[in-house]
Each structure stands twice: as C-alpha cells, then as structure tokens.
C-alpha cells in the first residue's frame, strides 16, 4: 500500500492552504469551490493522498484501534495481514457497532 485517498484529502486539495494560514474563510467568492475543484481535478491522486497511513496488524486489539482513531483523528484503519498486504479496512462505524453492542449486552445483563 502506498497511500490512502479520503474525502478529507479531496476537500483539502480543493481548499487552498493559504486560507487556513490566516482567518480568511469569510473572504470567498461565488464559484470559488468550482474554480479550485477544476484545478484540483487536474492533479494526480498521488499528490493529494495521505502517504503516512496509520495501519494496524490483523491481530491488534480493538482498544489499540480506538487509541489510533482518537489520537490521530482518523476514521478508518487499513488492517495489514500476515503477508504484509491490506486484508481489510476497519471503519469508525465498525468500532462503534462493537462498542454499542457491548453497552447493550451489559445493560441487558443488568436487567436480568
């Protein structure tokens, strides 16, 4: 795996970096997003993607994944298999389901 392209990466490619160096968000014009999108559309994926992707090994505990997601503010973690290739992707929602399931089981257990 050489990189990862997320919606966030594409939005960042459209949003000019100078805008965030100062508080310039109030100073835009009609059609600015479209203008910037046209320019960004000509760029290669490799210029926009995140190169230093945070990954987890297949056997990583779920808590470690939560730690990565919170600390690095990422919503997905590619899972690397034993052969060194991407075996799957763990999404924030996957973790969320696991967490809610545990919460509900716990509550159900309490009522019994």
């Amino acid at each position: 795996m050489i990189g990862f392209l997320t919606i966030g990466d594409i939005l960042r490619a459209v949003f000019p970096p100078y805008m965030s160096l100062m508080n310039l968000g109030d100073f835009t014009w009609d059609g600015m997003v479209e203008d910037m999108a046209k320019k960004a559309g000509q760029r290669k994926v490799s210029e926009m993607m995140t190169r230093d992707v945070i990954t987890v090994p297949e056997e990583a505990p779920l808590m470690e994944c939560v730690d990565h997601m919170i600390k690095n503010n990422v919503k997905r973690l590619p899972v690397i298999g034993k052969d060194g290739r991407v075996a799957g992707i763990l999404y924030e929602a996957d973790v969320f389901f696991a967490v809610t399931k545990a919460m509900l089981d716990e509550n159900a257990g309490g009522e019994r």
Binding site: P16, P17, Y18, M19, L21, M22, N23, L24, D26, F27, W29, D30, M32, D35
Partner: protein, 456 residues
C-alpha cells in the same frame, strides 16, 4: 585573562585565546552560512564553547555591556512578538489586508502598489517576518480572485517589507542592534532614516509599475469578487482589538518620547507587553508565550556571546584598524565602503550576525579616531553618525538582493513553495538584485548629500 575593571579589551596579542575565539567565530559563521545546522543551534553551541573555553567569563557574557548579551535587543524583540501574538486573533491584520485590496478597487496593479505601501508601513513597526506572514496568505487569495500571477505580489511583499523595516528603530533587527549599541533613540531613526525610506518607496513603486504594470490585467467581473468581500467580518474579537490598539498606541507614543523620558525602547515594549497580557485576561499565557520566535531569540543571545568573545580577544579591533588603513581615515570613504559592503554582504548572509560584528567594529574604529572621548560623545560623534546610518541602510536594504538575503525573503519563498507557487533563487534575484542596487544608490546619494555636502 585581564585583571582590573578598567581593562576593556585585552592588550592585543595573537595568543591562544585569540586564535581559539577567532576559530570559533569563523567556524560558527561558516556553518550558519552553509545552513547545515539550524543557526540558533550553531549560535548557542558556539556561545557555550566561548564560555567553556574561558574566552569569556560567564559574568561577562550575561552582564557586561561590552562583551555580553544585549538584553535591550532581546526584550524589545520578545515584547513586540508578545504584543503581535495577542493582536493576531482579533482579525485586525486580515481586516487591514482586505480593506487595502478593496481600496485598490480590484485593479491588480493598484492593489500591488497599495500592498507594497501597507507592507512597508507595517514592517516599519512590526518585524518583517511577522509582516510577510500576515500579508502573503491574503496576497495569494487576492491573486487567485483576480486570476492573475501571484509572483509579483509575493516578491514585492518581501522587498517592500525589507525597505519599510529600514525606516524605524523597531522595523528591523539590525536597527534595533545599532540603536542599542550607539544609544540612539526612536526619533533619531525617524529623523535620519524615515525620509530616505519614503523617497525610496516612491522610486520603488515607479519601478514595479515599469516591471509589472502592464502584465497585470484582469476582467471587471473578477474585480467584483474583491469588492463584494466584507472586511468587517474579519474582526473576531472587537473588545480585545480595542485593548490592543490602545496599548499599541501607547507603546508607539512611548517610542517617540523614550529618549526624552530616559527609557530604553525595551522598557517601553516590555511594559506594553505586560499590560496587554494583563488586559487580555488570559489564564493561559502558555500558548501566547510559546509562539514567541524562540529560535530567533536564542540565535541573538548566542551570537552576542560569540561576538563578545572575539571583541574581548581583540579580533574586531584588529579588523577596524585594517578598515581604517584601507580608507586612510577618510570617513566619507569609510561610510561608503560600509554601506556597499554591507549591502552585498547582507544579500548573501544573514544581516543579523553581520551587524552584530560590524557594531563593535565601528565602536573600535571610533575609539582609534577619538581616543580621548567616551560614552555617548564617542558613540554619537558627529562624524561617526553617517557610519551608523550607512550600516543600517546597507544591511537592511541589502537583504533584498537574493532570496536568502533577509528572513522575510526566506519566509516568502518558503511559504510560496508550500502554497504551490515556487520562486526559484534566480527568479528572485532577477527582480531583487536590480531593485536592491537602486535603493542603495538612492541611500548613497542621500548620505553623501545630507551628511557631507549639506551637513544637516
């Protein structure tokens, strides 16, 4: 080592201490120029060596006026940085920039000229790096809105900032250092440097009109993009803005009168910074203070100690003798040599270490010319004054020569690269060098006319 309080520099002998100090000095400068190691680290390590090898005693480095850290410079820089850091979040700088662009009515060249003037004026009161950090992002936004090449705006921002910074005591670090060394006050700079800088700016605006005036064209529909921006939206914290403007006004008034009131500029700035910190009611001064440019501050401190070492062993005095030999004691010739040598030296090396070296050299020169004088009478001898002004003009304006000549240029080029508008070394020099030579020619005529012909 010398004994007795009266011993200023050691009697001149090329002993081990002399060669040790000279080696540290030359090596440190060579590594700073090579940019292999960050200059702040080089300066601090070099200073450490000067102390460990007993070239300087710690007491001299920390407390001696002649060999040690110039705390006036350090606290003036820190205090101004704190004031600006507190002002930034209010949105006042975004307001000024957008307002200027609208004042240019969306005309690309008019905006270029107005930005040059605004940058120069801001640089006269803030440090140049801060100014370009504030102006560059807006500059690119405006160029994008008008669909014109951002290059003229970016290069002009760096050049105008270096010209404007020359105008006042607080505009550029060389001036702060010169003022502290020669005990000059804010109004001295206004009286002697501001007029020539205003004149220089007029010539500068005409020059950029010739260079870029015709190339910058846009459509009326695009001008509307600028005119519909509402600068009032930039103001995020009107209460803090009022407080900062009041404190800034007080500090500037303090600078104007500091000579009369017998305050050092650092006292004025430190009081302002303390007051604004208090008024900001922040309980978290941590991030405001952390945003001070500490690498620059440590660079200065280290440099002062390294220079202190070579002053003490007599290297600087020896150099001043040589300079006087070359110019045969003719002070007009000396000031011309100082100005042009400073200009070309500053175009390639950082003007801060350069001026840090030149300052004691000029003092040593004065001591040889008027051995009977001391204190202010020596430092502000009527025949010595043109030398200080030549040094300030040469060192500050010389920075415009190349992309590495001044920290403002380095920042503009660095930011431009990050923002996808690369400016090559050659490209910068193509515009910077001729404009630098023009500004130094104007200064040469000014110094010659004012101090050697009209003598006013």
């Amino acid at each position: 080592m010398t004994h007795g309080a009266a011993a200023a520099t050691q009697p001149f002998v090329m002993d081990t201490a002399f060669w040790t100090a000279t080696t540290i000095f030359l090596l440190a400068y060579a590594v700073i120029v090579s940019e292999k190691i960050h200059k702040a680290i080089v300066a601090v390590f070099g200073a450490g060596l000067m102390l460990v090898l007993k070239i300087l005693e710690q007491h001299e480095a920390f407390h001696a006026e002649e060999f040690g850290i110039d705390w006036n410079v350090i606290f003036l820089l820190i205090s101004m940085m704190v004031i600006i850091n507190l002002m930034r979040p209010t949105g006042v700088f975004e307001y000024i920039a957008i307002k200027s662009a609208k004042w240019g009515r969306g005309e690309p060249f008019r905006i270029l000229a107005i930005f040059a003037i605004v940058t120069a004026v801001l640089s006269a009161f803030l440090d140049n790096v801060t100014t370009v950090l504030l102006i560059v992002p807006v500059t690119i936004l405006i160029a994008d809105a008008l669909e014109v090449d951002a290059l003229p705006y970016l290069i002009s921002c760096a050049l105008a900032s270096n010209i404007g910074g020359t105008a006042t005591l607080i505009g550029d670090p060389p001036n702060i250092m010169i003022a502290s060394k020669a005990q000059l006050n804010f109004m001295d700079f206004v009286y002697h440097l501001t007029p020539v800088i205003i004149l220089t700016m007029v010539f500068y605006i005409f020059s950029i009109k010739l260079i870029w005036g015709r190339k910058l064209k846009t459509k009326d529909a695009l001008k509307e993009r600028i005119m519909t921006m509402n600068e009032n939206e930039a103001i995020k914290d009107p209460v803090m803005l009022k407080k900062s403007l009041a404190v800034l006004a007080m500090v500037l008034t303090g600078f104007v009168f500091h000579g009369m009131l017998h305050f050092q500029p650092a006292t004025v700035a430190l009081f302002g910074a303390g007051l604004l910190l208090l008024l900001s009611k922040t309980n978290e001064p941590h991030h405001i203070l952390a945003e001070v440019e500490w690498p620059t501050i440590f660079f200065f401190m280290g440099l002062f100690i390294i220079i202190g070492g070579v002053v003490k062993v007599g290297l600087i005095k020896w150099m001043s003798v040589k300079v006087l030999e070359i110019t045969q004691g003719n002070l007009f010739a000396t000031s011309m040599v100082v100005m042009w040598f400073s200009a070309f030296a500053s175009a390639f090396i950082d003007n801060i270490p350069y001026v840090a070296t030149m300052n004691p050299l000029i003092v040593d020169m004065a001591k040889q010319l008027w051995p009977e004088l001391s204190g202010v009478q020596l430092l502000q001898h009527v025949d010595l004054m043109p030398l200080w002004w030549s040094l300030a003009l040469g060192a500050c304006l010389g920075g415009n020569g190349t992309a590495i000549g001044a920290s403002a240029n380095v920042i503009v080029v660095g930011m431009s690269e990050k923002l996808g508008r690369r400016i090559s070394f050659a490209k910068f020099m193509l515009y910077g060098m001729p404009l630098m030579v023009m500004t130094v020619v104007i200064s040469t005529i000014y110094v010659w006319l004012r101090y050697y012909v009209l003598k006013i």
